[in-house]
């Protein structure tokens, strides 16, 4: 008898919870999507090694590899509460050659309404950029050398460009991470990207767009003949990447 009473109590408790939830406003599911373009023209894995792009400085280049790290996607509601949008991890290594890294679901649900902002970090912020802390990133050798400040790469953008003087297509390694000022002195180099005043009225995709052309354009016109390889320990190059990176990303909420 006692047992039946206990089960009944439990049932009532759970149904009470249920009805509580039902009284709330509908909740909408959040997912994340990454897309890439060159000044508006879509860039996909099919373009790797094939499509020629002309940068602001007039160099014709091809992409061999593009991988980059996005972390800390945060939605802020009208009362200032921050909702962390987390997939498998609190970060995502996007690889242009692997469509599986472009889109991911989360288990985050939010009520409809107006949100003051959505933001994410390109790379890791200082607090998250810890040496060897992420097993999956270690496993793909994504680390940034300790002599350059350690932590992890933010981006590896590798390719070839045409230079008639050199002949066979020379290469570039546009790798970005912590900037080394001098031996043992380092400067943070991540970028926070934000969009403001957003509304959510249905299941929503956080759409992160990367315009690759901007890495070479604004405010620094990038000359691949001068800055091509060995850039990781080049302070000036790292800071220019950071400056150009400010206009590379944009974030939208879509259905």
């Amino acid at each position: 008898m006692k047992k039946i009473a206990f089960v009944l109590t439990l049932l009532i408790a759970f149904s009470a919870c249920d009805s509580d939830d039902d009284n709330n406003a509908p909740q909408f599911l959040i997912s994340v999507s990454h897309s890439h373009n060159w000044d508006g023209e879509n860039v996909s894995s099919d373009d790797i090694g094939i499509t020629e792009f002309t940068n602001e400085n007039g160099e014709v280049l091809k992409i061999t590899r593009l991988r980059y790290l996005i972390s800390k996607i945060i939605l802020t509601n009208s009362t200032g509460d921050e909702i962390s949008i987390v997939g498998t991890n609190d970060y995502n290594l996007v690889d242009l050659s692997d469509n599986n890294t472009f889109n991911y679901a989360t288990n985050i649900v939010v009520p409809p309404g107006t949100y003051t902002k959505i933001s994410f970090v390109y790379g890791f912020n200082e607090e998250d950029n810890m040496d060897g802390a992420y097993e999956d990133l270690n496993s793909v050798t994504w680390n940034w050398p300790g002599m350059l400040g350690g932590g992890y790469h933010f981006m590896q953008f590798d390719g070839t460009y045409e230079n008639p003087v050199i002949g066979d297509d020379p290469v570039f390694n546009y790798h970005n991470g912590t900037a080394k000022v001098s031996d043992g002195v380092f400067e943070q180099n991540f970028i926070t990207v934000t969009a403001e005043n957003l509304s959510i009225n249905s299941n929503t995709v956080i759409d992160v767009k990367m315009n690759l052309a901007e890495w070479f354009k604004n405010p620094n016109t990038w000359d691949l003949n001068e800055l091509n390889t060995g850039l990781m320990g080049n302070y000036t190059a790292q800071k220019r990447m950071n400056e150009n990176g400010q206009s590379v990303f944009s974030v939208y909420l879509g259905d």
Binding site: E135, N138, T141, N143, V171, N173, H175, T229, G230
Partner: protein
């Protein structure tokens, strides 16, 4: 006496029913022995759920690894071309099969494969699992030149193997799948993670020399060795990214590598980055064993790079042939690389011939 006979018959049937009941038999589970750095820095090893590690499976796989009956004429085992003393590779540039013909690639060393999360094995990525990998050497006409029905029938006809398969997989009936599973289980136990450099990373500052530390710094310097983009770092104890690259060996390709498997011209001339562990025992080097010494390998990246249209952009200064390391940098880099070798791995009694 009659009762005794009845009991005996009853026991006989009981034992039969229990040994025939393959679904109820469970071999002894075994955990992999994971080195401390691997444990703290890498994702957990990827062991397939349909082939868990067991004491009996590993023992059988080890016996099969050293079993010449796998070859058509009963003369060659896996271990003939994957020698423990050479970190399970072949000291010969090309391995010779049972017919006397030679292959065209250097046998790959076998260790730490349980952390190949991409599940693409061999120089060209053509095997999708360690179980899958077993197929080619058995059937390849210039290797063991056998057929699976013949391998299965040969082992089934022996006095010892049916019982060992029963202990490992619950059935005396030997199959192609159970052979591959057993060998894969043994190969997953081949773990190397206790070199002097590992000991240094674990806190023993006396485990390495100043020259080796300097070599590591060259390895990690994008403007000198720049080895780390493909070959790991202090936080990736595999010392490989398990990915495929064209590392500037040739201007055109006789062996298409990954491209021969995928059919994609963009993959032509790409081969798997091998781990840098145990280089002291794995000469010759590269997919075709073209370099007899580590000095030749380092010279290749320093002055010998050759352009081709799929060359990896991580190969720099191609027009000048490469990184242009100084003589002392080369010596230090070589010293560091050799500090990743572990003699105990090549002499571990658990990995040697049990037959």
């Amino acid at each position: 006496m009659r009762y005794f006979l009845i009991i005996l018959i009853a026991l006989f049937f009981l034992s039969c029913s229990s040994s025939d009941d393959s679904t109820s038999y469970v071999p002894t589970p075994v955990n992999l022995e994971i080195p401390p750095l691997f444990n703290s820095l890498l994702l957990p090893p990827s062991v397939p759920t349909d082939n868990p590690q067991t004491l009996e499976g590993i023992a059988l796989g080890r016996k099969l690894f050293y079993e010449p009956l796998l070859s058509n004429d009963g003369t060659q085992a896996c271990a003939n071309c994957h020698l423990a003393e050479n970190s399970f590779t072949d000291p010969n540039r090309f391995s010779t099969g049972i017919t006397g013909e030679m292959g065209t690639r250097n046998a790959m060393p076998i260790f730490n494969l349980v952390w190949n999360f991409q599940n693409n094995f061999l120089w060209d990525g053509s095997a999708s699992s360690l179980e899958d990998q077993v197929n080619d050497p058995i059937e390849n006409p210039i290797e063991m030149n056998n057929t699976w029905p013949n391998v299965v029938a040969t082992l089934q006809a022996t006095s010892e193997y049916p019982e060992l398969f029963e202990q490992a997989f619950g059935s005396v009936i030997i199959t192609k799948e159970s052979i591959a599973k057993a060998i894969a289980q043994f190969e997953r136990t081949l773990i190397s993670g206790n070199s002097r450099f590992d000991q240094y990373l674990l806190g023993d500052n006396n485990a390495v020399t100043a020259q080796e530390i300097n070599g590591f710094n060259i390895f990690m310097d994008e403007n000198r060795g720049d080895c780390f983009h493909c070959h790991g770092n202090e936080f990736n104890p595999l010392w490989t990214n398990n990915a495929f690259h064209n590392n500037g060996l040739d201007s055109s390709f006789e062996d298409l590598g990954l491209g021969g498997f995928t059919g994609d011209p963009l993959d032509y001339g790409k081969f798997k980055s091998p781990s840098l562990r145990n280089l002291a025992y794995t000469a010759p080097y590269m997919h075709d064993g073209r370099f007899a010494t580590l000095d030749e390998v380092i010279n290749h990246y320093s002055e010998g790079l050759v352009y081709s249209n799929t060359i990896d952009p991580l190969m720099k200064n191609i027009a000048e042939g490469g990184a242009q390391l100084t003589t002392s940098d080369k010596a230090d880099l070589k010293a560091f690389l050799l500090s990743l070798s572990e003699l105990e791995f090549t002499t571990n009694p658990a990995f040697l011939n049990p037959n």
